[in-house]
Each structure stands twice: as structure tokens, then as C-alpha cells.
């Protein structure tokens, strides 16, 4: 005897839901990151050399990996967000699946560009 089945993953394996999930997940992580980012930047109030010292704290590989991941999340959230604005305010042209694909590709592109440009 068990409880009646509920909506599970099989109902959600379609592109539009995936876009929603990525957007929500990236938004949540960005919301957590942004105050820390501002905190770090506000150390600039201490002057250039002190700021440099605090920036040095981020030289650990964990932070470098985090920066890379956050650039990708930002890229995905940006393009996913444009998709939502198109759906909610633009002329109706379906669930804008092309935009989801662009979001993923743009995220990958930003990730690669970051790796290439950073030292």
C-alpha cells in the first residue's frame, strides 16, 4: 500500500521546463553571490593597496572556479531571462525554444572565453 503517484521527473523532461529550472537555479546562486561580490568590491574604500590585498584572498583555486562558474550562470540567466521577456511581453511565437538553445550555447561560449582570457 502506498500513496498515489505524483508528478515526477518524467513529466518535466522537456526543454521549456529545463529552461525554467536553469533560470531558477542560476538566479538563486547569483542572488547568494552578489552580496559577497559587493562586499569584496567595497574593500576598494580602503585604497588600492589594501584592495589588492583583499583581492589576493581570492587567489585560491576554489574562488577561481567559482568566478568561472558564476560567469556561466550569469550568461545562462541573462539569455534565459531575455527568453522570458520575449514570452511574456513579445509577440507570441511559442515557447521560444531557440532561445533556450542559445542560452546554453552562450553559457558555454562565455565559459570558454573566460578560460581563454583569464590568466
Amino acid at each position: 500500500m502506498s500513496s498515489r503517484p505524483k508528478l515526477d521527473l518524467r513529466a518535466k523532461t522537456h526543454l521549456s521546463y529545463f529552461a525554467y529550472a536553469c533560470h531558477r537555479f542560476s538566479g538563486l546562486l547569483l542572488a547568494c553571490f552578489v552580496p559577497l561580490h559587493f562586499l569584496m568590491l567595497s574593500q576598494s574604500l580602503r585604497g588600492a593597496s589594501e584592495f589588492e590585498r583583499y583581492l589576493g584572498l581570492t587567489d585560491f583555486w576554489v574562488f577561481k572556479f567559482g568566478e568561472w562558474a558564476l560567469v556561466i550562470l550569469l550568461a545562462i540567466h541573462l539569455v534565459g531571462g531575455i527568453r522570458l521577456i520575449m514570452i511574456e511581453f513579445g509577440p507570441w511565437r511559442g515557447l521560444r525554444k531557440a532561445w533556450t538553445q542559445v542560452a546554453v550555447l552562450f553559457g558555454i561560449a562565455c565559459g570558454l572565453l573566460f578560460l581563454y582570457l583569464a590568466n
Binding site: R24, G27, L28, L30, A31, V34, P35, H37, F38, L39, L41, S42, Q43, S44, L45, R46, G47, A48, S49, E50, F51, E52, L55, V71, L74, A75, L78, G81, I82, L84, I85, E88, F89, C110, L113, F114, L117, A118, N119
Partner: protein, 120 residues
């Protein structure tokens, strides 16, 4: 009935505010991404950052607009997530208000910081 309606009006206004701030952020984030890619070439030092932003009123205004848009956009998004994961009520309002205050205060501080470069 009046209370239900004013709740509904509030929800509608929050939705609208989040979408308008999203449009502003769309522009700000696009520009910011370009700046990021330009800035990280060959490493990132405090002098480089401050060299660009110190005394630059255009950057200051741009980033303050960015902070204000974030201040509207992120807490509403967080409140939605919390209301659906936990129930509506105190927790979601409290945590999103905390996020809002953090973004506003820390963000404006950061903008002032990079504009003045510590020369306050």
C-alpha cells in the same frame, strides 16, 4: 475582499517591477559581461580596476543603476522561490528583505568605493 484585492494588486505590482528591472538588468548585464571579458585579460589587479573606475562618473552612475535594478529584481525572485519551497509567510518576507538591504547597502558602498578609490 478589500484585503484580498490589495494582496492581488501587490502581487501584480511586484511581478511588473521584477520584469521592468529585468529589462534594465538585461542591458546592464550585457555591458558588464563585455567589461568582465575586457578586464580579465592577463589577470586582474586592484590598480587596473580602480584605474578604470576611479573618478569616472559614468561608471559610477552605470553601476548604481545596476545595483538598484538588482535590489528590485533579486529579492522578489528569492521571495517566490521561498514561498513555494516553504510556505508563504514570515520566512520568505524576512529573507528577501535581508537580501534587499544587503544588496542596496553593500552595492552602493561598492560603487562609492570604486569611484573614490579609497580617497574618501
Amino acid at each position: 475582499m478589500g484585503q484580498v484585492m490589495s494582496q492581488a494588486v501587490l502581487q501584480a505590482k511586484l511581478w511588473y517591477a521584477q520584469r521592468i528591472s529585468a529589462m534594465i538588468l538585461g542591458i546592464c548585464v550585457s555591458i558588464h559581461l563585455i567589461i568582465i571579458f575586457y578586464a580579465i585579460r592577463g589577470g586582474l589587479t586592484a590598480e587596473e580596476i580602480l584605474g578604470r573606475t576611479q573618478g569616472n562618473i559614468a561608471f559610477a552612475i552605470f553601476y548604481e543603476i545596476f545595483v538598484l535594478a538588482c535590489f528590485v529584481h533579486a529579492p522578489i525572485g528569492l521571495a517566490n522561490i521561498l514561498e513555494e519551497t516553504f510556505s508563504k509567510g514570515f520566512i520568505s518576507k524576512a529573507l528577501s528583505s535581508i537580501l534587499a538591504i544587503l544588496i542596496l547597502i553593500l552595492g552602493t558602498t561598492a560603487v562609492i568605493g570604486v569611484y573614490t578609490g579609497g580617497a574618501l
